[in-house]
Assembly symmetry: C2
Homo-oligomer: 424 residues x 2
């Protein structure tokens, strides 16, 4: 059966899943947990095959770490499932209740988005997290994971789908896409898929956006900045910069560009240079910077996303220039100021137009788990719907219910009746 045929069936099941009780959805999550534990050895065996093949084909060790699904990873995901089952139901929340006129009652109620397609990197734990977030929020999901963990994905998905059906949720609640070409099939399903969440490289996310009419929630890049103000504490600044740059260089919330106040530069730059050198971070700076502390000189105004142990450094006159640079050249992901001056900080936090605006802490905190959302399906740099780490709240929409007794608009247009708008 083609993806399209499968997704059409899913679309019919979507309202049934949406109307299912929280109890049923939570029971499904706990069944997933039980069955993952029950089949642990089989999962580990499949994962070992994936890992062996990855090693054969020369996948780097750093990447292979993410492919691994062992006892520790299983414990993490099952703990996550128990936590998720315990969270309040995101569906059916009444966010507006208003009598428009006698006997005409308007209610706004949260409901699932419907059918969501998630395309994600080769990380087996991500498969479990994403599918469980979708089930908890009553959304049908089409899942396409990275090919490097194909065998692990297949067994995990089978266990999850069987558990969900066993719990009494609809047959077509979840679907796995296994072939790369199925991504293009999915992109064409704009009449039955409500949202796509691509995770991966910029080029990949951009490809998705340019090749579908389905709304896309994704981030195109993460060029995060740290601005070192003239009133920054150097003792705090160095560890924060090193953490933001080196704690996990491949992450979208790693810092890429450092803006340093020109007045602070003479004292700060030499300290920075030696700290970066010690941490193995390559410095690229404007001529003004490299004249002072060496490194490669850069000319262009637009600094790249390195995702590596490299950082751009530029001097600015003041917080105003820092904000202008960030709003113009940044990716509106996460940007931080280091300062002990409250007034300067307030200006920065207000004026920077990013999903996360931080003071005196590392940009690496931008993450659903670290925000206490339990898990995330992705981080959005779009300003619409969901911004920043996207957890359960980002997976619901709402609908307006209006209940009357034969009410017609003509009576209000003619002045026979008037709205009284009483919130209930």
């Amino acid at each position: 059966m083609t993806i399209r045929e499968e997704v059409r069936k899913m679309k019919l099941d979507a309202p049934v899943l949406a109307a299912s009780s929280a109890e049923l959805r939570n029971r499904a999550l706990l069944l997933v947990k039980d069955n993952l534990e029950k089949h642990a050895e089989e999962i580990f065996a499949e994962n070992r095959k994936d890992l062996a093949r990855a090693e054969e084909t020369g996948v780097a060790e750093a990447v292979r770490k993410r492919l691994k699904f062992n006892e520790k990873k299983l414990q993490d995901v099952t703990a996550g499932l128990v936590q998720l089952a315990g969270l309040p139901d995101p569906l059916g929340k009444v966010t507006l209740s208003r009598e428009l006129d006698e006997g005409l009652k308007l209610t706004r109620i949260s409901c699932p988005i419907g059918v969501i397609g998630v395309i994600f990197e080769a990380r087996p734990d991500a498969l479990v997290q994403i599918s469980s977030l979708c089930i908890k929020s009553g959304n049908c999901a089409v899942l396409k994971g990275g090919k490097e963990t194909a065998l692990t994905n297949r067994i995990l998905f089978g266990i999850i789908r069987d558990s969900v059906v066993e719990a009494g949720l609809p047959q077509h609640s979840l679907l796995q896409a296994e072939l790369h070409q199925e991504i293009d099939e999915l992109l064409a399903c704009d009449d039955c898929v409500d949202l796509l969440i691509p995770r991966g490289s910029n080029a990949f996310v951009r490809y998705i956006m340019d090749n579908t009419r389905i709304p896309v929630m994704g981030h195109a890049d993460g060029i995060c900045h740290i601005y070192v103000d003239e009133d920054a504490s150097v003792e705090k600044a160095i560890p924060v910069i090193l953490d933001a740059k080196t704690q996990y260089t491949a992450a979208c919330n790693a810092v890429e560009t450092l803006l340093v106040n020109r007045k602070a530069a003479p004292a700060f730059l030499p300290v920075l240079a030696s700290a970066l050198k010690e941490a193995g971070v390559k410095l690229r700076g404007t001529k003004e910077v490299t004249d002072m502390i060496g490194g490669e000189t850069i000319e262009d105004e637009k600094y790249p996303e390195y995702l590596d142990l490299i950082i751009s450094v530029k001097l600015v006159d003041d917080v105003k220039e820092a904000v202008e640079h960030i709003n113009r050249y940044g990716s509106h992901h996460t940007d931080a100021i280091l300062t002990e001056n409250d007034e300067t900080a307030t200006y920065f936090m207000q004026m920077v137009d990013s999903a996360g605006v931080y003071r005196n802490c590392s940009t690496r905190f931008a993450d659903g788990f670290r925000y206490g959302f339990g898990a995330e399906v992705g981080i959005s740099t779009s300003k619409l719907h969901a911004r920043g780490p996207v957890g359960l709240e980002g997976l619901v929409t709402y609908k307006y219910l209006l209940e009357g007794n034969g009410d017609i608009v003509g009576d209000f247009a003619s002045g026979k009746r008037t709205f009284h708008f009483r919130d209930l």
Copy 2:
């Protein structure tokens, strides 16, 4: 200056407008009101020129009514401005406040979307409403109105922009596009426009969506349904159907397709047929329907949006079949059930996947003013961000602020510190 150059300036002013106080934004709205009243005669004079030209060029009378801007329309828009100035500030609302760990505080706060482009039909009152909603919500706006009211738009826009600047808001808060070709220029500004709201025909909205990378909030069509259940009250049903079809046929919330329960059909259809005939509504039905009450027979399953005094009628076995038809062929705008049966109604309200799901009332209620939102910038059939009539709430997003004291992720990764997630 090109639209692009103007919008780039606007982008720089956007954070300043976003940071402006509610007092300043409300003062601007009241200044707009004063200045519109002060220049009333000049506005009316320009509008008379637009109307004369419309008559000359053969614009239909029904359309010319919408072009008119007279004393009555002025009163409506100034009353709207006073009401809007009195509404609570949608900005700076704290929707999450959480201590992640000792001294590391996360806050989620509402903020404007940024720069919004609105392309709307020839209705001078819409220009005032849209610009005032954008100012109240702290958004910069590029406005392109219909060419039939070009002179009225120009004078209204001049007064509004001058008032906004006089009140102390940024110079580039508002921009008017006057030429049709400027729409394409605007569509290319995906690096400085955050949202487009096109209002108009399906073909036009679809054109916008297919020719820009900017997120679009719009509705592609409005194929609204009414399902007449076997437990419907005929006395309520006929007035509701007539209101939904005839009160304003050109509206997207007018009913286009009637689904009638097969058991109710023998008694209901003849009453319906005579009521439609009396109201001048042309009936198109499946063969089964036209065999019983005449009218044009339709074969295709997908019934069109008529925006005219025409209605499609089809029989269904039960509420389940009605829901399936609506979810499959509808436009997820607004759909209603007529029934006295609570259980059937609950099923329908839960299962229909539309922005508005109604019971025993006209679909024509789907409107920002009738929901008590003051005004609307449009009605969204998208499920993301805003759904249904879009008022102030739909024009804001949020950002996460994180304040620390030199906190680094490394300390949490190593286990030296742990998150305690305490909501404040």
